[in-house]
């Protein structure tokens, strides 16, 4: 499969200095690394800053880091920026005491956060919290003025045995009940991408996002001024690239191909 040629007008005048990389579906699929991805990442690292960005509401950075490490990727825990990290940072910045509607595995990223007398509701994908009592508790807090924070707002996710509701519908239910709008933190929110770039002081027009989700990865990144590269692995389905306007800067077979393209054309 060939890379589809990007239109010339979309080439950048300034050189790329940072590349944000999605994890699941882009570097690996469950317990398998995408062939050639480990070496491709090492090649890319020598040229630019990298950061790994992912929408997760149930896996802490430690868990993600251990998985990637076991697949052979040379990645530091501090290089992983997730929607949970964004939520943690939001909670710290705004001095919020959250009611955390999260599963145990995700709680690790909120160690040390004060949760007594809460003034915000933080929602991730937490099946054990999506019951009537807990939803009512959150609802009453929101009516009393607490802030609603959605770690991300995905409608559903695909597991091996079918489709399952994501956190989005439950965030939406509370928005409707209280007539308020949630602060949403993960991809495709602009603030998420900008925060990921912050450490490198890298303006968005010198950054690239590589991912398999045309809307959350590529569309979101391009809306905040980055270049988006869509890889045809993971959740990619035929013609996904036509779902956004403007189209992805580049659609290519896999992560190694995207690295070759960046090194050859954008540096």
């Amino acid at each position: 499969m060939q890379c589809s040629a990007p239109s010339l007008r979309m080439f950048k005048s300034s050189k790329v200095c940072t590349v944000l990389i999605d994890l699941s579906g882009t570097l690996h699929i469950e317990d398998y690394a995408i062939p050639g991805a480990v070496n491709a990442l090492n090649r890319l690292r020598r040229k630019v800053n990298v950061k790994f960005v992912t929408n997760t509401t149930k896996e802490s950075r430690r868990v993600l880091h251990e998985r990637l490490h076991s697949l052979g990727f040379d990645i530091e825990k501090s290089e992983i920026f997730t929607s949970l990290s964004a939520a943690r940072s939001y909670v710290d910045t705004h001095k919020i005491r959250p009611l955390l509607m999260l599963e145990k595995e995700a709680m690790e990223d909120f160690e040390g956060v004060g949760t007594s007398d809460p003034n915000a509701v933080v929602i991730g994908l937490a099946p054990s919290c999506f019951n009537y009592s807990k939803m009512n508790e959150a609802f009453r807090m929101l009516l009393d003025g607490s802030t609603l924070i959605g770690i991300h707002k995905a409608r559903y996710l695909k597991k091996k045995d079918g489709l399952y509701l994501g956190p989005g519908p439950f965030v939406h239910a509370l928005e409707y009940a209280t007539g308020t709008q949630a602060v949403v933190l993960g991809k495709p929110e602009k603030a998420f991408f900008l925060e990921a770039l912050q450490e490198f002081s890298c303006p968005p027009d010198q950054a690239v996002m590589i991912g398999d989700d045309v809307i959350d990865d590529v569309g979101g990144a391009q809306k905040c001024g980055m270049l988006g590269i869509l890889v045809q692995t993971g959740k990619y389905r035929s013609k996904d690239e036509s779902k956004i306007q403007p189209a992805p800067h580049l659609t290519c077979p896999d992560f190694p191909a995207s690295v070759d393209y960046i090194i050859d054309n954008l540096l």
């Binding site: 009537y132 009592s133 609802f139 009516l143 409608r155 559903y156 079918g162 519908p169 509370l174 409707y176």
Partner: protein, 275 residues
Amino acid sequence: MATPMVAGWLKFAKEIEGIVLDIAGVLYDSGDGDGVPIPGSIEAVNRLKASGVPVRFCTNATETTRVNLVAKLNRIGFSLEPNEVFPPAPAVCQILKERGLRPHLLVADDCKPDLAGVEQHDPTCVVIGDAAHGFTYDSMNKAFQALMQMEKPLLISMGQGKYYLETDGLKLDCGPFMKALEYACSLEAEIVGKPSKTFFDAVLKDIGISSDKALMIGDDVVSDVGGAQACGMRALLVRTGKYRPTDEKHPTVTPDGVVDNLQQAVELFLSCRDK
């Protein structure tokens, strides 16, 4: 006692030939056990009925069957007949039969008898009601998966209320859970119950009056007041049940009048008609 708001609606009291009352938050506050009558409401309903004005009860209650709801209200002191009470479930049952639909039910177990007699295998729609503690990730997921498997996903919702008041506080109604499924499946639910026009129309037809001769009294500014007004009825908001002061400054709905409770509404209404 008569505030300017009250005086305004009394001007049309003489034109009213039928009254439609909401139940929860107007007659009583639901909660553990049978709930508690709102002070003055039992006498108010009795006086209204004795005056000869036709009265019907229009509710989005789906936590139990019509017969059990009436029995519960009568246990706490009301005197209602099942044929005066209009909940959504019997209306949904009729729709399912007419259209040959097979439902996947996400409703309270106690409501299911009102939906009995309809085929449920290989569902062609999801019917959602106030399932209360029946709303879990698992039950929501099953409804979601059922919708995603349908050729043309159809969600029928018994009302779309946001919340209601029980004796121990505000509780989420079925609306938020309906919205969750709408969002997940990118669809729009079909509403049976208030504020749908067909639902109000069925009640008016039963009384035998046109909408401009009917007065609705409820505690839900959107579903009761806004819904009735959209059908051409007059509507009063009571300051009981789920009422919150901000309801009087609602951006899109302005009640024809606001009263402290059903007792005050009935007193003013009857005194004005006697003149």
